[in-house]
């Protein structure tokens, strides 16, 4: 709490104790919005945090154990993804995931995982939390690694037998890694 806020609170309590309610109100009303809460947050345990912290940043921290390659991923993709995203990621009721290589600076840019996404870690992060849409979080870590590997393979970024896991996924250099210009200036 700031010195000013402490001083305001002291004045408030002091005024209350001598019963000068009107004066107290005037003091409080000049203090501006109260900037301190009743501190009712309950300490979160490491286990609680681990259960909820599903974000995977570019350095890959938080990636779980497990692994998969494109061959395994093809089977997962066929049963869980192809209906909406097309047999080979070409898109259907949901967007295309494959292709668009070299198209970004043309009159018809095609934005896909391969052509546009700057980080491979985003694949794991997003697939696990949101896909398949009818059953998010239903894929095992192995399945998520495998289907990520398959999409990277279809985009020509990894080989069919390359093993994708917590170590290899963050190291993948996406083609459009340096394609973004940050606009926000705090």
């Amino acid at each position: 709490m700031s010195t000013r806020a402490k001083s305001m609170r002291a004045k408030f309590i002091g005024a209350m104790t001598i019963g000068v309610f009107v004066a107290a109100f005037c003091v409080a009303s000049h203090a501006g919005p109260v900037h301190e809460g009743p501190k009712l947050g309950k300490p979160a345990t490491p286990e609680e945090i681990a259960g909820w912290d599903i974000s995977i940043p570019p350095d890959g921290s938080g990636l779980p154990k497990g692994s998969g390659d494109a061959k395994a991923g093809a089977a997962v993709y066929a049963t869980k993804c192809a209906t909406c995203h097309g047999a080979k990621g070409e898109g259907a009721s949901a967007e295309e995931l494959v292709g668009g290589k070299g198209s970004l600076a043309t009159d018809n840019p095609t934005l896909t995982v391969g052509s546009y996404w700057p980080y491979a870690t985003t694949l794991f992060d997003y697939i696990r939390r949101a896909m398949p849409a009818d059953a998010p979080f239903s894929l095992s870590a192995d399945d998520v690694y495998a289907v990520s590997a398959y999409l990277l393979y279809l985009n020509g970024i990894v080989g069919e037998s390359d093993v994708i896991d917590a170590k290899t996924l963050p190291k993948i250099q996406m083609p459009n890694r340096n394609g973004f210009i940050e606009i926000y200036r705090p």
Binding site: G37, D53, P57, A105, V113, Y116, T122, I181
Partner: protein, 441 residues
């Protein structure tokens, strides 16, 4: 232009003024905005003016003039929660969702059916990625963790005991108005084109209070926010913005948030695009750099002609729209009309809105309805005498940062016709001699 106002005042003093038609302020029949102000009656002999209003094509004739039946019988009983009149059934959000994943899509606010600046809660636009979750306020918790001294969880009951603030602010989806990128002008009602924006009073706990309680590390300059929905929508936001004026909102227009707007708690970041204002908020993680989630890389970024893309755009650029009249409405005949519309900017207040009725050859400043608030809808109004000839109406906002709404040509030259998000160009309506209105570029 301001010159017109001066001219009108002089005429008024001379007593020579007998009609609003005498005080054009710009081409195409735009009249002095002070027609609307108290005391302006003397200025323009306003009591004698015959105001018209645009009508919808399917408007019916009035009933015969006799005592209404409602005066002959008792009315309906009280209701626990009021609903709009059954006669307003057509005032709805227009839903556009994915065929396979019906919870992924949008619904548009019917801007063309609303007045004033506040969006009714049932008509606030929606953007859901995988449906509206049914969250129990007794079990829902907010976790604050990451680069903090004290990772904490908060229940709604606890949060309700915190000091609160309210903010009247708009929320606009970064994809709003994106039909403007189409090569041909879309012909639809204005809400189905620009209605992914709404304005409400949001009340809740300043985020800074909660973040301070957790003790954010100085090097944590970003904050990952995540919702408890079936897409676990997540986005990285600048810590500075969260600390400056972010709100953990619990109330919307005085009542608890609607489920589709984040019940029981959501982020409100005044002036930022909608995707950052995470609904059903259940987790905030202090981090040193952006997590690079799907919605801050693959989406809500702007592809440029050189193949590079703008990222972390966040701030809503100034936009204004003429809502009355607009496509779907018809002007019943020549005469005096009130042009009315909305303007807003993520940079702060609306400084001025100019209107043109002659295709942009001349402009005049519209009246801004008070209060003009930062990050809030501002309603503008402009008197206009339509002479029955073809006209092109458009509005242009300048915000308090001095940023002027660009023409479509300027916006496309600066960005790319292949862009998808963040369209804020000037919008033009053409009025045909039969009074019909169309969208034109």
């Amino acid at each position: 232009m301001p010159v017109g106002g001066v001219m009108a005042r002089k005429k008024s003093q001379s007593g020579a003024l007998d009609s609003a038609a005498s005080i054009p302020v710009a081409g195409g029949g735009l009249l002095d905005r002070r027609l609307f102000l108290a005391g302006a009656g003397a200025l323009a002999g306003a009591g004698t003016l015959l105001w018209q209003r645009p009508v919808w094509a399917d408007t019916l004739a009035a009933a015969p003039f006799s005592l209404p039946p409602s005066m002959l019988h008792p009315g309906k009983p009280f209701s626990n929660y009021g609903q709009p009149s059954p006669h307003e059934k057509t005032v709805i959000r227009w839903i556009s969702a994915n065929a396979e994943v019906t919870g992924n899509g949008i619904s548009w606010t019917p801007l063309h059916d609303l007045e004033g600046t506040i969006t009714p809660n049932g008509l606030h636009f929606e953007r859901h990625h995988n449906g509206v979750p049914d969250l129990d306020p007794k079990t829902h918790r907010l976790l604050i963790h990451g680069m903090v001294t004290r990772p904490l969880t908060f229940t709604l009951d606890a949060l309700l005991r915190y000091p609160m603030e309210q903010r009247l602010v708009f929320i606009e989806c970064g994809g709003n108005s994106n039909a403007g990128w189409n090569p041909e002008p879309i012909q639809t009602k204005v809400g189905w084109f620009h209605g992914l924006v709404s304005c409400a009073e949001w009340t809740g706990v300043p985020l800074s209070i909660l973040l301070d309680e957790a003790g954010v590390d100085k090097s944590a300059s970003w904050l990952l926010a995540e919702g408890a929905d079936a897409a676990a929508v997540s986005i990285s936001i600048p810590m500075k913005k969260a600390m400056k004026d972010g709100i953990l909102a619990i109330y919307q227009n005085g009542e608890k948030l609607r489920p589709e707007n984040g019940y029981p708690m959501r982020l409100v970041l005044p002036g930022f695009e909608g995707i950052t204002q995470i609904k059903w908020l259940h987790r905030l993680k202090a981090v040193s750099s952006p997590v690079m989630t799907r919605d801050e890389t693959a989406k809500y970024t702007d592809i440029l002609p050189n193949g590079k893309a703008r990222q972390f755009i966040f701030v809503i650029e100034p936009k204004s729209l003429i809502i009355t009249p607009s496509p779907g409405m018809t002007l019943p005949g020549p005469g005096l009309y009130q042009i009315s519309g909305l303007a807003w900017s993520g940079h702060g207040k609306v400084a001025k809105v100019e209107v043109s009725a002659d295709g942009g050859k001349s402009w005049a400043e519209a009246a801004l309805q008070e209060p003009v608030l930062r990050y809030c809808f501002t309603r503008f109004r402009m008197p206009w005498r339509w002479d029955g000839k073809p006209a092109v109406l458009q509005s242009r906002i300048t915000d308090e940062a001095g940023i002027v709404q660009p023409t479509r040509e300027v916006l496309i030259a600066k960005r790319s016709p292949n862009d998808y998000f963040h369209y804020n160009a000037i919008v033009k309506w053409s009025v045909a001699d039969d009074g019909s209105i169309a969208h034109v570029y």
